[in-house]
């Protein structure tokens, strides 16, 4: 509960910067509510003080007041909608940026543990749900409470007994509204789930249309769609039944209220206790009385959804960044590139400790010294720990035990971002961002000149395909570089690294084959990349392995053997066995 208070206070804190606007907004809400309450009362007054009093001037003035109230209501509603919208959207914007900033501070380990979809929906869907609570919720609560209090006050002021009779239908209305909310929340959620299932199925059969056609399995999908379609129809039908009961029922309650007012009010008039205009006023207020109650019942669902979203967003914001600079971390300046592993052990399982089962360790007790300028090839079968070792050098993770040092200083002693800027990391699949090829090449060094960008592209041989594109280096690559082939993406990723002039290179060699010409270009580009830099290569091809100064063979997270190709063959160990299995 305390936690909930903290969260609500935090939400209110988001509103703080806009308190002037919120002040005006509340004024507008009060003014529009009051001006909406006036017309029925004025209509009653027109009958009593104008018509029945036989006073034409009073009638005219009352109608002028009526028109004035209408005008005020129009203007203040306009202001209210505008200000509520503005504040809600603005807070939403601030919140999105805050969450995004926080997400970017998280370590790579965080992104490994959480699916991308989940992280993204914190910045999109959940914030949208919170917006409902902030803009609609708060205003609905405020405006409707105000209306309700206003109506009740006016009715009581006009006639206490008639007011009590009118309000006697209230409990019924509240109960039906709450029941409706309760049942419909589940029903409406089901309709959303069902339509989402249909959309997902459709999306899948469209993107997999080649496979569907190739195996002639259309009937299977048509059957599945019929099933989903049927489920969707059933789910929607239950909301139809709910709506068909609730809305006519409230209409009946309105009519019953009207009848009661006419009956009891009428007798009061006949007995001379009240005037006929009062009865007309009561009828006019009946609807103004019903709407807020229905909306307030609705609000509860908004509140629950908003709070659920708030919990999720907090779950993210409360997650501290786990890889941070030490307080005395220094800017590395220009690195030399000497890498040292001192008895390093690492597990992806956060709770692992030294006593736990050995197979939970991705790497164990690694001691390794890579001198400046050396190219090291990491070799081993699946799960041997090659990529883990590479990731520790880039400090995407911190080891549980031991230290990784660069130029003799532990990684956490260097400032993270300048350190990474001097490391070139080339993934298996070249990930590109939407934008032009030039923008992607300059990703690591945005200040690079056009000439530098072009020469980086030329250095890896990417100019060959770039020159053939209609827009050349200004070609848009599309989302994730989808417009380029995988080999071309790879080359752009290489050019990006070349331009960043890293001192240390971490390379995960691509395994999937591209066409031969590109393959050769990539091979030459690799040569350029490795030259004169400390490099750790997760190698898959013999040609790359041979090019390395030293081969490190990993097995179950430990270094099994090291040496050159010839040395390892001569040693007749694990590498020699892998090699001979492949040769045959």
């Amino acid at each position: 509960m305390n936690d909930r208070r903290r969260k609500i206070l935090w939400v209110l804190g988001l509103l703080r910067p806009y308190r002037t606007r919120i002040f005006w907004m509340l004024l507008a809400v009060i003014a529009s509510t009051a001006s909406a309450l006036a017309p029925p009362w004025l209509a009653g007054k027109a009958i009593d003080s104008g018509i029945l009093a036989d006073d034409a001037t009073a009638l005219t003035w009352i109608v002028i007041a009526f028109a004035f109230a209408t005008a005020v209501n129009a203007v203040t509603s306009w202001l209210q909608t505008w200000l509520v919208g503005w504040v809600g959207i603005r807070v939403l914007q601030d919140l999105r940026e805050q969450v995004f900033k926080h997400v970017q501070r998280m370590s790579i380990g965080f992104f490994t543990r959480n699916r991308p979809g989940t992280v993204i929906s914190r910045m999109t869907n959940d914030i949208e749900a919170l917006n409902q609570l902030i803009s609609d919720g708060i205003v609905t609560l405020f405006a409707n409470m105000l209306t309700l209090i206003g109506v009740v006050a006016i009715l009581i002021a006009l006639d206490v007994r008639l007011a009590l009779i009118t309000m006697s239908v209230l409990p019924l209305l509240v109960i039906t509204s709450l029941l409706f909310r309760r049942f419909s929340a589940g029903a409406f959620r089901r309709t959303r789930e069902r339509i989402a299932a249909i959309t997902a199925h459709l999306q899948e059969t469209l993107s997999g249309v080649r496979v569907v056609r190739a195996f002639g399995q259309e009937p299977q999908h048509v059957n599945r769609m019929t099933e989903l379609n049927q489920l969707n129809r059933d789910a929607n039908m239950s909301t139809v039944y709910l709506n068909a009961t609730y809305f006519p029922a409230t209409e009946l309650l309105t009519a019953a209220g009207t009848a009661a007012i006419l009956l009891f009010g009428g007798w009061q008039v006949i007995e001379g206790n009240i005037m006929v205009g009062v009865v007309v006023t009561f009828i006019g207020y009946l609807q103004l009385f019903f709407d807020p109650i229905q909306q307030l019942a609705q609000l509860y669902a908004t509140y629950q959804q908003g709070m659920a979203a708030l919990d999720k967003i907090f779950g993210l914001l409360d997650t501290e960044a786990d890889i941070v600079d030490a307080p005395d971390a220094v800017d590395p300046g220009e690195l030399q590139g000497r890498i040292t592993f001192e008895d390093v052990s690492f597990s992806y399982d956060l709770e692992a400790d030294a006593d736990s089962l050995s197979d939970r360790w991705a790497i164990r007790h690694i001691d390794l010294e890579i001198p400046e300028g050396e190219t090291v090839a990491l070799v081993g079968s699946t799960g041997a720990g090659k990529s883990t070792l590479a990731k520790l050098v880039t400090r995407f993770h911190d080891p549980q035990e031991g230290r990784v040092l660069i130029d003799g200083r532990p990684l956490y002693g260097w400032q993270q971002r300048p350190l990474r800027r001097q490391m070139g990391i080339v993934p298996q699949e070249g990930f590109l961002f939407s934008g032009t090829i030039a923008e992607n090449v300059a990703f690591g060094r945005p200040e690079a000149t056009d000439e530098e960008i072009a020469s980086a592209a030329a250095a890896v041989g990417a100019d060959q395909f770039i020159d053939r594109l209609p827009d050349g280096i200004e070609t848009e690559v599309g989302e994730r570089g989808i417009q380029l082939s995988s080999g071309q993406r790879q080359l752009v990723a290489f050019a990006r690294v070349i331009l960043a002039r890293p001192r240390v290179l971490i390379l995960d060699e691509a395994t999937s084959a591209v066409d031969t010409r590109t393959e050769r270009t990539i091979e030459n580009a690799l040569e350029r990349l490795l030259h004169g830099r400390t490099a750790i290569v997760i190698a898959h091809r013999l040609s790359t392995i041979r090019r390395a100064d030293r081969i490190i063979v990993l097995d179950h997270g430990e270094i099994a053997e090291t040496g050159s190709h010839d040395e390892l063959i001569a040693a007749d160990g694990l590498y020699a066995r892998l090699y001979s299995a492949w040769v045959n």
């Binding site: 139809v240 068909a244 009207t258 395994t511």
Partner: protein, 586 residues
């Protein structure tokens, strides 16, 4: 209007229900219109001091309301049924039609476009046909009836009170028209913002590797600002129209109070009639708005209908003649006779005059640069496309003379993208034969060298993969795709670059398995790695849609420089070890 007429055609099967629901709606409206005049009668009774008349009038109001409750409930349920039935039919028809359309259609369509037809457009039509028509007629009837009663009571006052009515309709129509695109643009910008967030999250390793968090933040901020601007625009429209639509009928009410009040004072109108007028004015504001909104809905439904019919009117091109037989049993001989293929009127030919006779059990390799026509050639064998000229035959039957389904049950085509459905691995392997036994599935997986890694997954064969499941590596996906093809037990197997992400050892093991499975069956292999091509006995060298050379690998290697330049020459470049690690350094 032809589109509108065709849209109404979707209602035809349910026209009895629709009429029923309309009649109920009108009857309910009759009750609604009755109530204000009863109120007027009650006020007259009160004024006349006739307390005894009040009870029957109140009873009548409650009675009318109860009757209306029953009528409205039935009306809503019937209308809901019709609306949902129309949606159901529309979706079935569209989806069924999409499944009948040939692959070529999808080559020219963006998935997003088709998706929005099947969702947004369909919704617009369904709302209009299911609810819009009823709301429209119901509201129009209310306005007409109430108007008639008001004219009957006092024509002048009715004219004055209803003067703003056309304005309300126009404003509501205009609001529906303007706000819709604005809101859609908001959705569009939300999508852009999501894409921006998605790119950063999926590419976070690159962002961190180059320390470009600030740059991504700026881009995200720009997307947020764009959304902010558009949301404000949409809010502004709402802030303008909603109070306007609310205030316009009030002006009518004010006029009624003024003029009617003076008429009562002058004695030409009695107080009861005056009150009834007032009650009618209160009642009319929402139907007037509905008429305008329903008109807007109708316009949208017609636009959506036009887009939907564009798809529905496109006839499938790959169909069997009526009464066509299934592909007769045979050994798997494939013949191409003078085959040419062009994808579109402006496209260069993909295949030119290809003639080929592949005997049963042969293993044919296809080699060529990109755009040489390899994939086009094998796609013809599964009749994914029809040749523009010439004929393709399997065991003597022209593919155009037999049912496409029977061809595809005999030809298993494994493409390079190895698409998996969001389903268990077992179901993915059994895709072509959903009735396959678990043993058969495991055997196919074993042959494709997939059994080992599948067993190590958390739920084994029940592990859900695909877009909404576990992400597998490229090599793992390829092996599942091959298992899927093997389980189909095809007469002809096509591997289109289907082993590109496998290492040499795995590829070798699959080759051995194929030796056993594909004996006496025909296999086509596309690839450019030596290890892949060693699956084939004969290799065809293709260039610009033609077969330019054929022979064994040794023959081509020795005589064709073009061939040598296409093949990844040194065995050293073949992957030695391939990671099956799901998480690679990215």
């Amino acid at each position: 209007m032809p589109t509108f007429r065709r849209l109404l055609g979707f209602v035809r099967p349910h026209r009895r229900e629709l009429w029923g629901s309309l009649i109920f709606a009108w009857a309910a409206m009759g009750m609604t219109v009755l109530i204000p005049s009863l109120i007027g009668k009650a006020v007259t009774a009160i004024q006349d001091g006739d307390g005894d008349a009040l009870l029957p009038i109140a009873g009548l109001i409650v009675g009318a309301a109860i009757l209306r409750l029953g009528l409205t409930m039935v009306r809503r349920i019937v209308a809901g049924k019709v609306s949902l039935a129309v949606e159901f039919d529309l979706r079935q028809e569209l989806y069924g039609h999409l499944q009948r359309l040939e692959l070529g259609f999808f080559d020219h369509q963006q998935t997003g476009q088709l998706m929005s037809r099947a969702t947004v457009d369909l919704q617009a039509i369904r709302f209009f046909l299911g609810y819009g028509l009823i709301f429209f007629s119901q509201s129009l009837l209310t306005v007409t009836l109430a108007g008639a009663v008001m004219f009957w009571i006092n024509p002048w006052l009715a004219l004055i009170g209803l003067a703003p009515a056309p304005l309300v309709v126009i404003a509501a129509l205009r609001f529906t028209r303007v706000s819709r695109p604005a809101m859609q643009e908001v959705q569009q910008r939300v999508a852009e913002l999501t894409a921006e967030a998605e790119e950063t999250v999926t590419g976070i390793r690159v962002v961190k590797a180059f320390s470009r968090e600030d740059h991504r933040y700026e881009r995200f901020q720009a997307a947020v600002t764009r959304l902010f601007d558009q949301s404000l625009h949409s809010t502004r429209i709402q802030a303008f129209f909603q109070p306007l639509i609310g205030a316009l009928p009030q002006i009518g009410t004010a006029l009624v109070l003024l003029v009617g009040g003076h008429q009562v004072l002058a004695g030409s109108l009695d107080l009861g009639q005056f009150t009834a007028f007032y009650a009618y004015m209160l009642m009319l504001s929402s139907p007037l708005r509905t008429v305008g909104m329903a008109l807007g809905m109708g316009q949208r439904a017609i636009a959506a209908g036009n887009r939907l019919f564009e798809v529905l009117d496109r006839d499938p091109e790959i169909v069997a003649p009526p009464g066509a037989p299934d592909l007769p049993a045979g050994e798997g001989r494939v013949e191409l006779e003078g085959v040419g293929l062009t994808y579109g009127p402006d496209a260069p030919p993909a295949l030119v005059d290809i003639s080929l006779d592949v005997p049963p059990g042969a293993r044919l390799g296809l080699v060529g640069g990109s755009g040489a026509g390899k994939t086009s050639l094998v796609a013809l064998i599964a009749r994914l496309y029809d040749p523009t000229s010439g004929a393709v035959r399997i065991d003597g039957s022209d593919l155009r003379s037999v049912t496409p389904d029977s061809i595809r049950h005999q030809v298993a085509y494994v493409s390079d993208d190895s698409f998996l459905f969001s389903d268990s691995i077992g179901a993915n392997i059994a895709y072509a034969r959903p009735d396959a036994s678990p043993e058969a599935i495991e055997r196919a997986a074993t042959l494709a060298q997939a059994d080992g890694f599948i067993r190590e997954l958390p739920d084994g064969y029940d592990t859900v993969v695909g877009e909404r499941g576990l992400t597998l590596s490229g090599g793992q996906r390829q092996r599942i795709a091959i298992a899927r093809a093997l389980l189909a037990d095809p007469r002809i197997l096509i591997l289109d670059d289907a082993t590109s992400s496998l290492d040499a050892t795995t590829e070798q093991a699959i080759r051995d398995a194929l030796d056993e499975v594909m004996r006496d069956r025909t296999t086509f292999v596309i690839g450019h790695r030596l290890s892949t091509l060693s699956l084939a006995e004969t290799i065809l060298l293709m260039d610009e849609g033609r077969i330019v050379d054929r022979g064994t690998h040794e023959e081509l290697d020795s005589r064709s420089p073009a061939y040598r330049s296409l093949i990844v020459s040194g065995a050293e470049d073949d992957p030695l070890f391939v990671d099956d690690e799901i998480e690679v350094v990215r």
